[in-house]
Symmetry: C2
Subunit: 428 residues, 2 copies
Amino acid sequence: MKILTADGTSELELLETMHNRSTEIDRQVSETVSGILADVCTRGDDAVRDYTEKFDGKRPGALELSPDALENAYAQVPARFIESLTRAAENIRAFHERQKREGFITTQPNGVVMGQRVRGLARVGLYVPGGKAAYPSSVLMNAIPAKVAGVGELVMVAPPGKEGTVNPYILAAAKVAGVDRVFAIGGAQAVAALAYGTASVPKVDKIVGPGNIYVATAKRLVFGAVDIDMIAGPSEILVVADETADPAYLAADLMSQAEHDPLASAVLLTVSRKLAEQTLAEIDRQKAALSRREIIEQSLRDFGAIIVCKNLADCLCLANRIAPEHLELMVNQPMHWLGMVENAGSVFLGQYSPEPLGDYYAGPNHVLPTSGTARFFSPLSVDTFVKKSSFIYYSREALDKGKDDIVTLAEAEGLTAHANSIKVRFGQ
Amino acid sequence: MKILTADGTSELELLETMHNRSTEIDRQVSETVSGILADVCTRGDDAVRDYTEKFDGKRPGALELSPDALENAYAQVPARFIESLTRAAENIRAFHERQKREGFITTQPNGVVMGQRVRGLARVGLYVPGGKAAYPSSVLMNAIPAKVAGVGELVMVAPPGKEGTVNPYILAAAKVAGVDRVFAIGGAQAVAALAYGTASVPKVDKIVGPGNIYVATAKRLVFGAVDIDMIAGPSEILVVADETADPAYLAADLMSQAEHDPLASAVLLTVSRKLAEQTLAEIDRQKAALSRREIIEQSLRDFGAIIVCKNLADCLCLANRIAPEHLELMVNQPMHWLGMVENAGSVFLGQYSPEPLGDYYAGPNHVLPTSGTARFFSPLSVDTFVKKSSFIYYSREALDKGKDDIVTLAEAEGLTAHANSIKVRFGQ
């Protein structure tokens, strides 16, 4: 990882690098996935079984897991893990309860009643990856907001391992989060089953959750038939630090993000060249003990940077242009600077709010906009799982009062049948 | 338009027909649009001017309209139109003010401060079509929620006519709605200019508004670089009527939707065959006086239907499967049935709440989910124009209390650098 000085050019290069990490849509992948989608749409469960056998190694019998399977997994994983997971779930639930919103109604004395209803989606599908990317914390972060939103039925899919079973940590998390049904299927075939429905897998209204390129492509392709959440790019952290920051903490936090993925990005913006150098030294010192050292080194080399800026305001200004997924403000008065943060998925304030606190425990969601999209996208939330609908009731008297305006506007647009639907009610 | 009896088959056929009206993505259109996008991205204003000359007929000088142009248009259109537009804008603003939401903060005595901020997007682009589809009401419905949301700068684009000028009704509506800047450009080149920015057109964070297939395709293709609103399909109305409904009103309301587009769909579900027959007779009687009779006849023939159901509960059940953009409940006690409506963009209750009331005047938005997507999409709203962001502050004491849980969860996921970022703060 290099230390650069903010000079106009280095910032632009950083922006380019950070915002263009997402892999392009691959035509070959699209064609493969389209074929799977069409096949599952036509042949249903048979196709799902064929692809499961082909990609996951074993032909499944029943696709759905029994409630016993969740109970067994829950009993099988360490009690200490369940305790920690349960406390995290409580924090996540408490925070997301605050996001819940009611509809509203407005009434007028002349007989006008209007409003907006907000209701949970009827049925949602949650994709959970298998293998090394099987994260119980992601199950909580996706499932709990859905349940808080009042989703009628939350259906989880997760690919089976070689023995045909799903990771017990994932199943335990599904139980803690209140997932309603679990199917041991994965890949594009699982996305297709959720989008179109099969004899055993119910059709859902929305599909959320991370996945590999096949899953992400399948989600893109079924969008419209169902809704999907955003397609997450590689993860990133941006740390803004003044002289009061501890280089050991900075190094640890940068690496905690870098270990996710060789495409992950960890960037430090600081006002102190000395701190920049100390942080590099700390990275060297700490990384020896970390199990994912190679990924960390690759990520820091390709997508890591330390940029020394003139002052904190410049750091914040550049941070807003980068619009990072995670922004740590490791400065003396972090709350003072929060109002200057225009674009960031989640902001971590001060020395004792490292990003993993938010990844696992504090309560706000860890599914956040990446690659600069915090400019216009928002964290996963209860809002992700609701639909809104408006309603209008007008009395004859109220419509009479408004009728000339409506007719004027409709006729100005050349829509005479619109005008007619008002006039016919008043014998005009 | 035929009268059918609900028998299982006719409902399924209706669902098929209604949900498959959207035109497929056209490969040829995609290629043309991709070329335009790339060209505008590279050559900026020069490319925009070239395409404007090619598609709109006249090479433009300045792309942006002066504030005077808006004032002149406002002075030029009939005062009666401005009055009606202004009253409609007031109603729309009042309803959307109710959608506005604040962030929140939670604090705990051990030094935990967390919350969510909700802010308007910094800059939004509003596409307004030209020609026959130039609807001032759409300008209000898109622009007012953006302004209520607190969008920093609202930039409108609208294609110039043959003489290089924009429809004055559209410009007057832009003034009433509070649009900040207007550019006389249209088509895929306008979408590209908004998405990438040029010397004269500022880069935006989100692009909303309707458009033809080229505009819709351009929006799909720039999605990711900017956010977009949903891509609207052809419009539709579903009317549920009991014996108390007036067939003249039913006929007028069905035709008010059918006149939009030969692809529009107007469907009546009723418990009374007699009412169905009377409605058909009324359509024949009323349509003679309507200027868009041919479109109405085509739309009703291809995508219209009357289905006679056993009872109102059956009507509502089918309505929920159709998930219409507009749902009129022309029944004796409409409010009684509202709770049974699971899927609909906007619900119009009773004899004096015809759909054009909502299109122009009442206040709720007229940009609504089509083609069955009300199952998971929502009306355009203030929420369309905001971004949310969470923040987390933990004291040393609070992190100390949570640290073992975080380390347990991180290590269960094999993410030792995540665990390290907690441990390093406590000398572990």
